[in-house]
Symmetry: D2
Subunit: 239 residues, 4 copies
């Protein structure tokens, strides 16, 4: 296990775009042993297609998942804290040591105060975690860009879990976000999420100027996640 | 590892009082590999003295710790959720599957809304986790007792981390808490915490009617945690 | 205005049961000038029938309402603070000085942490405000009773605003709450809320052992609030 | 009272810079009748010197203050809500109707989630309230600027209430904030706060490129607030 860990440290620097980040949320299908299995499926697709897949299991599962696969593992949340008296919080250093290479911040199901997003992005940078700040619209995306995270994932909350892709329902949210973010900080990578369930949705997202997708139920709750991920991977090459 | 896990399931039912629960918080000394080492020290003391020691590492570390020791492992927090769309939250089922047998709830550094404490205690019961609700004074302890958790740990927040034990500074808080809690629900086990650093403090806490202590910096940040835990263990026999 | 104010101080001590507390929420129909008008209708019904009606306008409207009517005025929320640096919070002393005689605490739309409910009840007591802690079920009601507020209003959140009265949908929640609360502290007055829209609902609530109701949309959003309040008042006499 | 109100509506459009916004927090010296008196002192200075003073009393006091003075009145906080079921929250429409012309948002003692700051700024715009978003450092100020509020008030939290002015302790925070904000949106007015107690501090703040100050204890808790405000007013002319 130790060797695999070292190897994965090498590979994990290889976060490449287009990227598909699979958020396991707290779905039963993405918890514990099933989280490890799902991550292995993602790793298989990644290895077979060369497309970058990352997984974001619950903090409880980061260690087991990161020790089972060679693809990038993200935490779903970090708290903007340093080591100390913070019972029940998620320490960036702990997430990193457990094997994560990045973290979601401010997901719509775990919104943070502005000053805390700023501090969490800073802390992620300090400990060497790739930061992905989730946002809900264009103005909030621009606002987040000013904090210089590595990535921004825009997800209109009303579409999350609906199967109606943002790229179809609100393509202007995606294009305006890409424009606004790049105007403020052109180094920030823009992803989009919400309602993405098919390769077509992924291709549409990339065509609108994003460099990847953040997806949850579309994969985690799919009958055959492997098959859907394969479809996603192929769609990234059809741009 | 699988065998040790099964074995630990058997042992873990053996939560006995007096109990010493060591809260690792997000101390550097209780994170990652150091969390595993510290848990092993606690297990050693437990095995040598027969006194029940439990450890409460960060959620990220529950899996690694629970797979390394045979003593009870607690989470520091659970969210009152069922499997589903709760990115960045702590699912009781996930904590359980990772190897925890119990959880702190409402620690002073992670206070919850009343309705959420109620729901978290219920969820802990449903998935088979021992619930330890932390409280800050006598009336809140009585209030928590009405929710029928397994244990209540009263900790005056102003004493946490001070090295001034509640059993000395505010013994009436402890005795009043024991009385109030028992009057509402005599099955609830009462622990006390805050400022506990010596065997003397432990003995005093037990004399005041508690059935154990919740301790953090007194052990985690001690120069020799093993030695302090040994002193704690011996103190439980001096009652 | 000064004389009316003094007079109202006298009258306001006359909180009597059965009581109907009308929560104006942030409904347009209960904001600003309309809040004053609605409070006047409640005062008219109170004066005509002798039944105790209280109103709970937004904090912004407490002053104007309290200076326009002689019936008890409640705040919808107080923060558990003392005078000091708490920008944007609701100071109990300020609410009191503006003319309120009581306050809701922990409404389902403004849930508080357990320690904060405890502190808010204490602060209400200190400044002389009647405290009404809102709860969502029987165990939380029992828990709140241990904090010794003046009243507890149990409202299953899933029924709020539905027009389905708790007294019909879940009568056992009401009777169990009355039992549990009284067992812990028999001085606490129990109200019930959620879905109450008719005199029949009020009568049912009283029959189940409560001493009044907490109502919002059933009156505030009624076509003719005066008429509905009159119906409520008459129902309290049919017990 | 009605006439004064109408008159004040006319005057209130005259928010001019340099501006001094006095945050009453929940200080005893700025509550209830004392809030009205303090606002009258500010109005007197404003009238005598021609310098724009605004006051930000607690929401409970907005109505009484706005009906007593002709200077701009700000709320200390609004919630990002529309009329509806939001017990215990601050409705922008209610604040406006009570006589406020603007509102602080995200004060360091009332931090909001990023998506809520965005929504609150939008709601303020919709109901015609001037929005002042409080921030804690340069990057958060830039982030806030992307949301296009009317003003941003940067206040390093560690200096609030210290009497050590940000303009002296961390002048680069002020100048960098002015630069960053203007680069993102040159229409946003930048104020600074924290530790401001003298005319000298005000002059320094303006020299660093701000268009005013947000001040609390320096005035509210001064032995003679009128005198301090006069000093502040004179300092704005010394630029």
């Amino acid at each position: 296990m130790v060797m695999r860990r070292l190897k994965s440290v090498v590979r994990l620097n290889e976060i490449r775009t287009p990227i598909v980040i699979v958020n396991f949320k707290t779905y039963a299908e993405g918890t514990g042993k099933k989280a490890v299995d799902l991550a292995k499926s993602a790793a298989k697709v990644s290895s077979e297609t060369g497309v970058c897949f990352a997984v974001a299991p619950q903090s409880v599962d980061v260690y087991a998942v990161a020790n089972s696969v060679d693809i990038p593992v993200f935490a779903q949340h970090i708290d903007p804290i340093t080591p100390g008296s913070h019972t029940g919080h998620v320490l960036p250093e702990a997430v990193k040591e457990a094997g994560a290479v990045g973290t979601l911040i401010n997901h719509s199901e775990r919104r943070l105060r502005l000053a805390d997003i700023d501090a969490a992005v800073t802390r992620a940078r300090e400990v060497g975690l790739v930061s992905v700040v989730c946002t809900n619209n264009t103005s909030v995306s621009a606002s987040a860009a000013a904090l210089a995270p590595n990535m921004i994932a825009v997800e209109p909350p009303e579409l999350i879990g609906t199967g109606i892709p943002v790229s179809k329902a609100q393509p202007e949210v995606v294009t305006n976000t890409v424009d606004s973010v790049k105007r403020i900080n052109r180094n920030v990578i823009v992803l989009c999420g919400a309602g993405i369930t098919s390769g077509e949705d992924v291709a549409a997202a990339l065509k609108l100027g994003t460099q990847g997708v953040l997806v949850a139920s579309g994969i985690v709750k799919a009958k055959d996640p492997y098959k859907v991920m394969l479809e996603f991977a192929e769609a990234t090459n059809k741009r």
